[in-house]
């Protein structure tokens, strides 16, 4: 074991505490609306589906729970043949949704 190894070993209890604090904070926050991620995914997909056909299983959803924030990642495979025009429309629509979302944030809960 290297010096780093010894260092890590001494602190495994502290690592455990930090990991628990982080995940419990997220779980407590999520407990009121456990399906938020799925709801977000479905609504974002619905917006995109207005413009292009997207297969549900061509969507990769990732979530990274971090310090104070979560990062939602949507990796959507758009089929070939999506015209530039549609892309622009899509971008506009997404921007609009984003703007609405930001505007409604204080009211929170039902916005998404």
């Amino acid at each position: 074991m290297s010096i780093l190894g010894i260092f890590q070993k001494r602190n495994s209890g502290a690592v455990a505490r930090d990991r628990l604090q982080l995940i419990l904070a997220h779980e407590r926050a999520e407990s009121g609306r456990p399906d938020l991620v799925m709801q977000l995914r479905d609504e974002i997909l619905a917006v995109i589906a207005n413009h292009v056909s997207v297969e549900a299983d061509k969507v990769k959803v990732t979530l990274e729970r971090g310090e104070g924030v979560s990062t939602l990642g949507l990796d959507i495979e758009l089929p070939l043949g999506v015209s530039a025009k549609l892309d622009a429309k899509l971008a506009a629509k997404l921007a609009e949704v984003a703007a609405n979302g930001a505007g409604r944030k204080p009211a929170a809960k039902k916005a998404a």
Binding site: V15, R19, I23, E27, P34, V37, M38, V61, L63, E64
Partner: protein, 271 residues
Amino acid sequence: MAKVLVVTSGKGGVGKTTTTAALGAALAQGGQSVCVVDFDVGLRNLDLVMGAERRVVYDLINVVNGDAKLPQALIKDKRLDTLHLLPASQTRDKDALTDVGVARVMEELRERFDWVVCDSPAGIERGAQLAMHHADVAVVVTNPEVSSVRDSDRIIGLLDSKTAKAEKGEEMEKHLILTRYDPMRADRGDMLKTEDVLDILSIPLLAIIPESQEVLRASNLGCPVTLNNPLCAPARAYADAARRLKGEAVPMSMPTERKSFLDKLFMRRAA
């Protein structure tokens, strides 16, 4: 030729989740593709022991209900490409799992992986029975302690009656992993001996996992013990168990921490 393995015990807190993570990682370290599946719906913990708790998006129930496809719910281990996790739901209860849905997911997992390692919830109720139902092989985790051995006996009875294999009239392959074993206390006669436990349960021994601080250390860090410190005694015992599961003949030995000559000398005198 996928194999579905259930890690079960009846009693809680004996090391099912630790064993699932350690065996899963050890099998994956050998190059085979492995998925560890958490069946403890409502009280998931395998994600935490595997260090993937921050990345859970979908779970077993989402896949069973068809809300997500299996590949979307699988979490790939960051350390080992061949290792995947299918987490349990934290918010629903076990009644959300349907028999048909679980059967479909297990079939899909069989197609994708060489090994599917199912972490059973404690108890003998529906959750534990669902976890064992599709298994080809069972690993019964037992502590050398009276209540754990008794509960393991109950679980062995269920493995022989309530599983798909049993219902077809086939014999379920069962193995015992004895965890938290302290050879010094067993030698002094203050702990059930391995032979006693084997005699009572009459299933073959797969491994003896010595009591070790490395197990807690690994779970603190969110890393299977076989990955966190492959040379420590419990990791070597789990690695041997994984090789035995693959059909290799590995002589059974009592793994001990590798100590220096001076340590050994001192230990001899003290004992």
